[in-house]
């Protein structure tokens, strides 16, 4: 794969992540509107029943689908003090190693969140008021972790680019 091909693939990954972030954006807008309706409803003694748990579960959608976009847009906090001063080959090696570490982290997290979701399903875990099953949200979050893994796979290839690196 040439450098140009890698860049095209990375741009596609970034585009997909950005598209997923639209789901997050809709979730954020939903949370905002639900909160306002709940507060107004409370003023006239008709609050939305179970609003807290709806907001909490929507939070999983908001953060889960936003995770890959935060990574592809290079928004995470990292220490660049040392890495920018190292010779390019060593910096590239370090970037590859950290991308692989992050891939492993989210792969392990994804697998274990799936297990956790399975336990929630078996235990019949539901939200306290509306009795919404929690496990679908956990499965969804696990899927988001795997999407995050995919981002790191492509980030490894980006590390070899002449300019830029993975960020």
């Amino acid at each position: 794969m040439t450098e140009a091909d890698r860049l095209v693939v990375w741009r596609k990954v970034a585009k997909v992540s950005e598209s997923l972030s639209v789901v997050s954006g809709i979730a954020a807008t939903f949370v905002m509107l639900l909160t306002v309706v709940d507060v107004l409803g409370r003023a006239v003694r008709h609050p939305i029943v179970g609003s807290y748990e709806i907001i909490a579960l929507t939070g999983a959608i908001l953060i889960g689908f936003g995770m890959p976009f935060t990574t592809t847009s290079g928004s995470h906090v990292f220490m660049e003090l040392l890495i920018t001063k190292l010779p390019r080959s060593i910096a590239t090696g370090m970037n590859v190693a950290t991308r692989i570490l992050c891939f492993l982290l989210f792969a392990v997290a994804g697998v274990n969140i799936f297990r956790f979701a399975g336990e929630l399903a078996r235990a019949g875990e539901v939200s306290p008021t509306l009795k919404i099953p929690v496990y679908p949200f956990a499965y969804m979050f696990g899927v988001c972790c795997f999407l995050q893994c995919l981002v790191f796979v492509f980030a490894v290839f980006r590390c070899f680019e002449k300019e830029g690196g993975h960020r």
Partner: protein, 434 residues
């Protein structure tokens, strides 16, 4: 030494080494936290903790406060509310020597009432205020120094993301923290104004007055600021009166700013989408830091390091204020190498029990940490706000640092005041929270 403590110390060492590799800090905390927890307990428990902490951080009602307050600030940002506020302050203050720099402080303080992001405020005011100050021949050190510094006001002026994070980590009331930060935040803004005044008295050529606005222009500009003040009062007042939870306050505030922006015809769908993307991006970053600190926190707690550190720190044969100064100095030092906010998330679970054991008020400590963070944001080597200004204005970083120094003195004075008069931070919360 206890084996668990040794594992904990090795874990902290490995974490710092990992940080140096340029890995995302939140992810590094998760990796070390999970691996360390596996060593102290067992791998199965560690995997459970990793999965549960990640999911619970995302699906947490209390944590949705971040995206909502960020959304509020981002809508205000894309709708150009900062520019409107600067324009009002400019009309009232611009004609006096140093007035454009003062207008920057007043505009940024008002903007902080809806936007908690230091970077966004610095970037906005660099774009709006620096060209104005350039036009009237302001000294570059003053013009760039003040825009680099005003961004820090958001650390204390509610709704502050930093105070929300501190509240979550230490389980303190976010409403109390907001109230505690308000007075020191406003006083620091006044100190900045006094610094500009003093600078212009000593070197009048550094900041000549601009063309005065008419009284009619001044009064007619005011309603734009009044609406933002109303939103601020609803949001903060709602929390104080117990009518809103902080999450609800964030939602109501974001919606109110959205309505205001629509009413003023400053918001298009495209701008709303941009604000949403920025909200998602920043929320993801903060939430991964928090999830990382949760996993790491479980590991560090299992090693008993916080309790042992607290006992050791308390037993030091030093005055408790001196110990606290040393702790805050560690924060400044740590924040100089690791990003300041990330270091607070990392170090607070370790130092907080000691601070409480030393008899300091947790709310007061949150505000003291806030001032430390304000200092950390503008001092080398990692001075985010200075980098933003330099990047946007192409003014050398050294020039901006020289411009920041006088304002740094104002921050240090504020810190001294906090030490001498803890009520400086605690008076307002004591009025509202009995």
């Amino acid at each position: 030494m206890n084996l668990d403590v040794l594992i904990g110390l090795i874990g902290i060492g490995v974490l710092l080494l990992l940080f140096a590799t340029g890995i995302e800090l939140g992810f590094a905390m998760m990796i070390v936290g999970a691996a360390g927890f596996a060593c102290v307990t067992n791998p199965h428990a560690a995997m459970n903790i990793l999965a549960k902490d990640l999911f619970d951080t995302a699906a947490n009602y209390g944590f949705t406060v971040f995206p909502l307050f960020m959304l509020m600030g981002q809508i205000g940002f894309v709708a150009g509310m900062a520019g409107r506020l600067y324009d009002i302050a400019h009309k009232w203050l611009g004609h006096i020597p140093g007035g454009l720099a003062m207008a920057t402080v007043v505009g940024a303080t008002a903007f902080k009432a809806i936007c908690g992001s230091s970077g966004a405020t610095t970037a906005t005011f660099t774009a709006i205020a620096v060209p104005q100050m350039d036009r009237f021949g302001y000294d570059k050190r003053l013009s760039t120094g003040i825009v680099a510094t005003v961004g820090t006001l958001g650390v204390l002026i509610p709704p502050s993301v930093v105070l929300i994070i501190y509240g979550i980590i230490t389980e303190q009331s976010i409403g109390k923290l907001f109230m505690a930060g308000l007075l020191p935040g406003l006083v620091i803004a006044i100190f900045f104004l006094v610094t500009i005044y003093g600078w212009c008295r000593i070197r009048p050529e550094a900041a000549p007055g601009s063309t005065p606005a008419t009284w009619k222009e001044r009064w007619s500009a005011l309603p734009g600021a009044i609406w933002i003040a109303v939103i601020f009062l609803i949001v903060i007042g709602g929390i104080l009166l117990g009518y809103f939870t902080p999450t609800e306050a964030g939602g109501v505030g974001a919606f109110a700013v959205l309505l205001l922006a629509l009413f003023q015809k400053d918001l298009t769908f495209k701008k709303y989408v941009a604000s949403m993307k920025e909200t998602v991006r920043t929320s993801g970053m903060v939430m991964m830091l928090i999830a990382g600190s949760m996993v790491l926190g479980h590991f560090i707690t299992a090693t008993m390091i916080p309790q042992i550190a607290a006992d050791w720190i308390v037993s030091l044969p030093l005055n408790r204020h001196l110990i606290l100064i040393l702790i805050l100095f560690i924060y400044i030092l740590g924040g100089s190498f690791v990003e300041d906010l990330a270091f607070i998330i990392l170090a607070t679970p370790i130092f907080f029990p000691a601070v409480v054991k030393l008899g300091f008020d947790p709310i007061w400590f949150g505000i003291a940490l806030g001032v430390v963070l304000m200092i950390g944001i503008v001092i080398p080597p990692v001075a985010v706000c200075v980098f933003i200004v330099s990047n946007m204005t192409k003014v050398p970083i050294g020039t901006i640092y020289r411009g920041v120094m006088p304002f740094l003195i104002a921050l240090v004075i504020a810190m001294i005041l906090l030490f001498i008069f803890p009520q400086f931070a605690l008076w307002l919360p004591s009025l509202f929270f009995k």
